[in-house]
């Protein structure tokens, strides 16, 4: 992906983010991440039925990288199973941390393949997955109750 295209993807998702605005209904699982090292603050909510993500929304104030990564991530996970989401997360984390990943799975998320060059921005790029991981943990905890 050339740098012009990467920039376009990031700016487009920052300025016109996917599913920005929470519905705040009870059937959603929610989590917040308030990045301690900077000022990003994002809430994500997911609706899950039969292990499939049915809806995903977010809100908050954050930089271009966090906001766009959240937008792209939510777009990608709607309709996917929880296991597919976990695989996507680990591939994305590997991308950010310079380890092996499957390019075909990541698609638009490849826009962040050079974030490692700015180490202080890695937490921005990882903000959505850290928040989604919190939600996945909640879902698992709920299952173990049943």
């Amino acid at each position: 992906m050339d740098s012009e295209l990467k920039r376009e993807i990031i700016v487009e998702n920052y300025q016109n983010p996917y599913h920005k605005g929470l519905k705040g209904k009870n059937e959603y699982f929610k989590a917040n991440t308030n990045n301690e090292s900077c000022i990003d603050n994002i809430d994500i909510e997911l609706k899950v039925e039969n292990n499939i993500i049915k809806d995903a929304n977010f809100d908050g104030e954050a930089c271009a990288i966090s906001t766009s990564a959240t937008s792209i991530f939510l777009k990608k996970i709607v309709g996917k199973s929880l296991n597919e989401v976990k695989t996507l997360i680990s591939n994305y984390e590997n991308l950010i941390n310079e380890q092996d990943y499957d390019e075909n799975l990541l698609g638009e998320l490849m826009a962040y393949d050079t974030i490692y060059l700015q180490p202080n921005r890695k937490t921005c790029a990882l903000l959505p997955v850290n928040t989604i991981k919190k939600i996945l943990k909640q879902i698992e905890e709920e299952k173990s109750w049943k």
């Binding site: 920039r7 000022i39 104030e61 930089c63």
Partner: protein, 401 residues
């Protein structure tokens, strides 16, 4: 016209434009050298030994107490207590004095533009003592007016605790007038001088201030040292909140203990000796230039900055009328942190965020801003470079992504 020799600040050789002076200031060589001199040549503990270098260290340490007293025009050097910074000073006032002084339903007046260090200790005290915290409403420019203060005082108001200059809005408050009103209502006045003492002449007598706090590192001094000034009649009623070495006269197995006199009883443990000595050197440096000259220079610089920005439609200014060298701004449609990262590309240091004034968002309806805060070593040339970078910011995402 620049009022100092910029070579005094070695870090400026790195070609940075440092506009984050509200967070901390750069250090002139003389401050670091004064600390080195202590460490290399007489680095002993104070108030202990009977040997020469310990006496020398004690004298250097105590001489700074006199220097600070003179700097803020305190009557008595014993009214100067060294702390780790303004936060520590405020905690000492709240938990060492107000804890005993205030009772249930007493009111403390703050404003929504105060720094966290002048809010959170009061929140804690409110939980313990069931006191009430009220906020003096700010005007349309987010500034504190005397009228508004008068209207907020009730017969239960016992304390007013406000910054002399706030750290985001940067409004310069009329402390003399506030103190007149406070004292005519038997209210104690606590002043957070963190953003004022480094930038203008402070006079605790003329302004009749009961408690004043400030940090050394925001006025060219080292980190880890600050000051709590209190009128002697209040310090006499204050309890220490840290206990241990250095502050006790004697103690017995049965728990009987006598504390040392004021101010030593409030300085438990080995104090930041090198840092206090460094602060002394910072004060010398500031006084050599003159506080009035510093104040005027910064005000002129702020006016220049505003004149360069106010017609730029891309820039939102939140406090252009405030008199201090602090400017809160955003670029239209850009998250403050992205702006700060963009400016860093030009080696321009500004801060993005809420600047520890987390309830100010209720006031200005915006959570995060970029803050540019000036000091006397900044220049018009630096402002020009900043303005050029802002003008070129259509390229912002090309630079940061």
């Amino acid at each position: 016209m620049i009022i100092i020799n910029r070579k005094d600040f070695p870090i400026l050789n790195n070609d940075i434009i440092y506009f984050d002076n509200g967070a901390t200031t750069l250090k002139p060589k003389c401050v670091v050298e004064a600390m080195n001199d202590y460490y290399y040549n007489y680095g002993a503990n104070i108030h202990r030994g009977d040997y020469k270098i310990s006496l020398e260290a004690s004298e250097a340490y105590e001489s700074v107490r006199n220097k600070v007293a003179k700097f803020i025009n305190a009557k008595n050097p014993n009214e100067i207590v060294f702390t780790s910074g303004a936060t520590d000073s405020l905690n000492k006032i709240v938990f060492g004095f107000m804890m005993n002084y205030l009772n249930e339903n007493d009111e403390v007046l703050l404003t929504k533009s105060e720094h966290a260090s002048n809010i959170l200790p009061w929140f804690e005290l409110a939980k313990i003592k069931k006191i009430k915290i009220n906020y003096i409403p700010l005007d349309e420019y987010h500034e504190l007016t005397i009228e508004s203060l008068k209207n907020t005082i009730t017969r239960n108001t016992k304390v007013i605790s406000v910054a002399a200059v706030t750290n985001v809005v940067g409004d310069v408050r009329n402390i003399k007038e506030i103190s007149k009103i406070a004292h005519s209502n038997n209210i104690i006045l606590v002043i957070d001088g963190s953003q004022s003492v480094p930038h203008m002449k402070t006079d605790v007598i003329k302004d009749d201030i009961d408690f004043l706090v400030f940090s050394g590192h925001k006025m060219l001094g080292p980190t880890g040292v600050g000051v709590m000034y209190g009128k002697m009649k209040y310090l006499e009623k204050m309890s220490p909140i840290n206990f241990g070495g250095g502050m006790n006269q004697y103690f017995e197995v049965n728990g009987e203990v006598e504390y040392k006199s004021i101010p030593t009883r409030f300085e438990a443990g080995t104090p930041p000796i090198a840092e206090v000595i460094g602060l002394g050197s910072a004060i010398d440096y500031l006084e050599k230039i003159g506080m009035d000259k510093i104040c005027k220079y910064e005000q002129d610089l702020k006016k220049y900055l505003i004149s360069k920005l106010e017609n730029n439609k891309k820039v939102i200014l939140y406090n252009k009328s405030s008199k201090s060298g602090i400017l809160a701004f955003n670029l239209e449609g850009i998250f403050s942190q992205d702006t700060a990262i963009y400016l860093d590309y030009y080696n321009i240091c500004v801060r993005a965020g809420n600047h520890c004034a987390k309830i100010l968002k209720d006031e200005i309806n915006i959570k995060n801003t970029c803050r540019l805060s000036l000091y006397f070593y900044n220049t018009k040339e630096e402002i020009d470079k900043f303005v050029t970078a802002i003008e070129k910011s259509d390229d912002l995402y090309k630079v940061i992504l």
